[in-house]
């Protein structure tokens, strides 16, 4: 078991470095000088790319070669996409897809 001081040190170092990663672009480009064009461009085009990356990352533990072969994830994704293309209602798509996924992992492929 670590002492209070050790625990605090670990938390503060982790918090400080995390904050640094979030603040870095503002530290480097946030001054009064105009933001470089390449940074403005990346700021515009990164969001759709990052969103795709986060989807891949969130699904990284689904295995296609062993049971249940990624089927719960596939059912969840299909539900979200289907509901969303049909109704275009964000909350409905997310809650419906999550419900389908929970049913899949708890009941169907349990």
């Amino acid at each position: 078991m670590m002492s209070t001081g050790q625990i605090l040190a670990v938390i503060l170092v982790t918090a400080g470095v995390t904050l640094f990663t979030r603040a870095a672009p503002f530290i480097f480009f946030g001054g009064s000088r105009p933001t470089p064009a390449i940074i403005v461009y990346l700021g515009r085009v990164l969001p759709p790319a990052v969103m795709a990356m986060l989807i891949v990352y969130a699904l990284r533990d689904a295995s296609l070669v062993s049971y249940p072969y990624g089927l719960p994830e596939l059912m969840g994704i299909a539900s979200v996409a289907g509901l969303h293309l049909w109704w275009r209602n964000t909350l409905l798509s997310i809650m419906g897809g999550t419900a389908v996924y929970m049913l899949a992992v708890q009941l169907i492929f349990a």
Partner: protein, 280 residues
């Protein structure tokens, strides 16, 4: 510390929310606009936060350290990695380096807000501190509706998201082992949120090159670096690919601009029709 912007703003928001009179109070309007959009994150953060709190106390440490981590660090995957710091001995330099690697993707998130936040002097500190994957996704996909003050709207989204994370952590650390229903799979809410935002961006974008780059690069990175180390190489690959293809992408974007703006930064203030419409 980074959290320097009046916590009572949220409390005021909650009070006005209850009182129900639709006045012109900017905080109340921002809260009304923000809350429905954070509901998917409410589901995801409470559940994942609970998992974190539960795991943390299972190492034999008291609950309040878990809560402090969610208050000061506020980074989901990093906090799970940090669980290891409390089991085996790690040097502080080593901890700093691991944190830097796990969170390096955040360096790219702020790029989308550098210009915007120059106009948000007082609010910037907390907004930058609280820029998680999920908050980033909301802020760049769902701009403040017409007539809602953007600073307060961004702040409400950020502070609501963190409150879910802290509440989930506390719940997991205090009563996590006695939850009466099976929550397995609830974390899919966050994946679903990313999918919905991806679909919306796809439908409105004039150029799909960036989205495709975002699909391909993580798969390539996963093939080379394994599924648990894909994020940083994927981010670097994506950035390089976006820079290399800058000319065609900008041409594609410019072609669509006569019709409707497509990229979040230039999207018209959205009337709340597509996003969060179900919360009324």
């Amino acid at each position: 510390m980074p959290v320097r912007v009046h916590p009572f703003v949220l409390w005021r928001g909650a009070v006005f929310f209850k009182s129900g009179s639709a006045g012109g109070n900017p905080v109340k309007k921002a809260f009304y606009a923000a809350f429905p959009r954070t509901v998917p994150i409410l589901l995801g953060y409470v559940f994942v936060g609970m998992a974190f709190g539960l795991l943390f106390v299972s190492n034999g440490y008291p609950y309040y350290w878990a809560a402090l981590m969610s208050l000061l660090i506020y980074a989901g995957s990093m906090q799970f990695v940090a669980l290891n710091f409390f089991i085996a001995p790690f040097g502080l330099m080593e901890i700093a380096l691991i944190t830097l690697l796990v969170n390096a993707r955040h360096i790219f998130y702020g790029l989308s807000f550098v210009d915007k936040y120059k106009r948000m002097k007082r609010w910037r500190g907390y907004l930058v501190f609280a820029l998680t994957d999920e908050t980033y996704s909301l802020l760049c996909s769902q701009p403040a509706p017409q007539g809602v003050d953007e600073k307060r709207y961004f702040f409400c989204i950020s502070v609501l998201d963190q409150s879910y994370w802290v509440a989930g952590t506390l719940a997991g650390a205090l009563v996590g082992s006695r939850i009466p229903f099976d929550t397995a799979g609830m974390e899919f809410a966050m994946t679903a949120l990313f999918i919905v935002i991806f679909i919306e961006q796809w439908l409105s974008a004039k150029s799909h090159t960036a989205a495709l780059i975002g699909l391909i690069c993580p798969l390539v990175a996963m093939a080379f670096f394994g599924k648990d180390n894909l994020v940083l190489p994927a981010m670097l690959l994506m950035t390089l690919a976006l820079i290399a293809l800058r000319a065609p992408i900008e041409r594609g974007l410019a072609q669509g601009e006569d019709n409707a703006p497509s990229i979040p930064e230039t999207t018209q203030a959205d009337g709340g029709g597509d996003y969060g419409g179900g919360a009324g």
